[in-house]
């Protein structure tokens, strides 16, 4: 089959003496090169009263949806102006497609009306949404507390093997990343301190600075932030996709509470693992500081570690570990909450994961601030 070299599309709209408008389509009209312009037709129609529109497509070459879209608009224009359309000049295929497009009239209430709401109205709507979301957050926390108390009495239904797996995933498997980040954090703290302390010739106090900072606050905080990105997002994605695949529905209709079966083991796992990861992170941070002290500041390893041990008290360690445990609970709650609130589509699961990380990091930082204040007031 030989393809005729087709000339580019041409559209001419002419007005006859008897008030009819003839639309002439010629050449090749392909959707890649644009639609015939409806404005040209509109312009001619605006010139004066028109009795009918007819088409001349004798020289029309290739055509596709480009022409069809133009014709649909042309027919709509004609309908609005009560002008007859004579379709006999169109190719058979185009005529049939046009009829198909018009076969089912537009449903009145199908199009959602996009009304540009007033600012006050939008503000009000947002406030109501926020209130509703806050209530659903509170409701979740309330039901979690009930489920945890049932778990504490040994009545909650979950599988111990699930808990063991979660402990492994959110404890042991997080060690490499926690090692890397806390070691580097200790290193950074040591550098920051060294610059200041060198001017006084008191570089040995870098050990105090790194030790106390890591153990009291930074160890728990940075481990919490790592786990928020790692576990919080994972929990939200797991629960969100279980919602999409109706796995959570299946639990509920089996009279198995998703709260007990899915959320409780996650909260317990993080509450158990975060203190251990925090302790480990503290140690890695001190090692990072020692690395700088020994290689750059000329301190001996033993000297550095003794100085650290002197500076850090048991109450610092217990306080830090306690904070880590609280952060763990906050991460697990935020992750599961956003997962359970997720919509039933794959993009909603993505949003849930994002929102879980944001929520957990905000919760951790707020808690960190509260702890700083309370510990200061208590003189710890």
């Amino acid at each position: 089959m030989s393809m005729a070299v087709s000339s580019p599309g041409e559209l001419t709209v002419t007005r006859g003496v008897d008030g009819t408008v003839v639309v002439r389509l010629a050449g090749s009209w392909r959707i890649e090169s644009g639609l015939p312009s409806v404005a040209a037709l509109e312009g001619v129609l605006a010139d004066g009263p028109t009795s009918a529109i007819s088409f001349d497509s004798r020289e029309l070459g290739d055509w596709d949806s480009a022409v069809l879209a133009f014709l649909a608009s042309a027919c709509r224009l004609a309908r609005e102006r009560d002008i007859d359309v004579d379709r006999s000049g169109l190719p058979e295929g185009l005529r049939r497609l046009l009829e198909l497009a018009e076969a089912v009239p537009e449903k009145d209430d199908a199009r959602t009306s996009v009304i540009d709401d007033a600012f006050v109205q939008r503000l009000g709507g947002k406030a109501i949404d926020t209130h509703r979301l806050f209530r659903s957050d509170l409701d979740f926390v309330g039901r979690l507390v009930l489920a945890m108390s049932r778990a504490a009495r040994g009545k909650a239904r979950f599988r111990w093997s699930d808990l063991a797996l979660l402990v492994q995933q959110n404890g042991f498997e997080a060690l490499p990343i926690v090692t890397l980040v806390t070691f580097l954090l200790g290193l950074i703290l040591a550098f920051v301190g060294a610059i200041q302390l060198q001017t006084f010739g008191a570089t040995i106090y870098v050990a105090d600075l790194v030790g106390v900072a890591m153990v009291r606050d930074m160890g728990a905080l940075i481990t919490g932030i790592i786990m928020a990105g790692r576990s919080g997002a994972a929990f939200a994605a797991q629960l969100g996709s279980m919602k999409v695949t109706q796995e959570i529905d299946a639990l509920e209709t089996m009279a198995i509470s998703a709260m007990e079966f899915l959320v409780v083991p996650r909260v317990v796992a993080l509450c158990l693992m975060m203190p251990l990861l925090t302790l480990y992170g503290d140690a890695m941070g001190i090692l990072g500081g020692a690395f700088v002290g020994v290689t750059m500041l000329g301190l001996s390893p033993v000297e550095y570690l003794l100085q650290s041990a002197d500076a850090v008290s048991l109450s610092h360690v217990v306080g830090g570990v306690f904070k880590g445990s609280v952060y763990g609970v906050l991460i697990a709650i935020s992750g599961c909450l956003r997962g359970v609130q997720s919509g039933r589509s794959s993009s909603a699961v993505g949003d849930a994961a994002t929102s879980a990380v944001v929520t957990s990091i905000v919760a951790i930082i707020v808690a960190c601030g509260v702890f700083a204040f309370v510990f200061y007031m208590l003189g710890l």
């Binding site: 239904r157 279980m242 695949t245 796995e247 299946a250 639990l251 209709t253 089996m254 009279a255 198995i256």
Partner: protein, 257 residues
């Protein structure tokens, strides 16, 4: 004394009374009123988007009615306290559209979970029952497979094995034939009839597959998207041949009235 002609009417398995379903301000279906008799294979049918699956979600307690109530036997499911509702839920089984198997568990664990939760069986007995239920749906030997490792039709059958784990009185099916080839769909239909006959279960199916509807449905309700209520109630074959309603006849005859 003359004996009264008492028709021994057995209590229906499910009674839907004056049910209105809504999402926020949008009413999906209103004034649904019908009963599902014990032993029926009851079909909920209607065009896409008419609220069939939502009605199923109401029947199994995943959505709350805007108005009206649902009774299991003579007891209100809608008004039951949460603990009582959990007990009532144990008498039903649901096969979800996609199977909804718990993806972190093997097939045997999926079936075993409800057994472990709600029976006094020990581990080896549970494993035995789980293997039996899987064998009933033709999945013997697949106990240790994960849901992701098997085909869609097999997932559906495994979902059915899980739904039957506690020998429920009522089994719900959401679009059982969707995504299955004609032969698998037919086999599933046969399995449904077999289950009804051998277990004596009542079966409620949401579907729009005509072949299934006529092959297995003993009674049905037709939900209409336009008038937003039920417009026919009766055995599917009768509705096809005798319904006064044009839309019902057209639906059941694939567009030919």
């Amino acid at each position: 004394m003359e004996a009264r002609a008492v028709v021994a009417e057995s209590t229906p398995a499910i009674t839907v009374r004056n049910l209105t379903m809504a999402y926020g301000d949008f009413t999906l279906q209103r004034d649904l009123d019908f009963t599902i008799e014990a032993g029926d294979i009851f079909v909920i049918m209607g065009g896409s988007g008419c609220g069939k699956s939502t009605l199923l979600r109401h029947l199994i307690g995943l959505n709350e009615p805007a108005r009206g109530e649902i009774l299991y036997g003579t007891e209100s499911f809608t008004k039951a306290a949460p603990e009582r509702r959990s007990e009532m839920l144990r008498r039903i089984g649901v096969l979800y559209q996609s199977g909804a198997l718990w993806s972190s568990m093997t097939l045997a664990e999926n079936v075993a979970l409800p057994l472990g939760e709600f029976t006094e069986l020990d581990q080896s007995e549970i494993a035995e029952v789980a293997a039996l239920k899987l064998a009933l749906v033709g999945l013997a030997g697949f106990e240790d497979y994960y849901p992701a490792d098997i085909s869609g039709g097999m997932q559906k059958r495994a979902g059915l094995a899980r739904a039957m784990a506690l020998d429920p009185d009522i089994l719900f099916f959401d679009e059982p034939g969707a995504g299955l080839d004609p032969i698998s769909a037919r086999l599933l239909d046969d399995l449904i009839i077999e289950l009804r006959d051998s277990l004596g279960a009542t079966i409620v199916i949401v579907t729009h597959e005509l072949a299934s509807i006529f092959a297995i449905g003993t009674n049905s309700v037709f939900l209409d998207a336009e008038s937003r209520t039920m417009i026919a109630h009766g055995p599917p074959v009768e509705l096809r041949d005798q319904s006064q309603n044009e839309r019902v006849r057209r639906f059941l005859r694939r567009g030919e009235s």
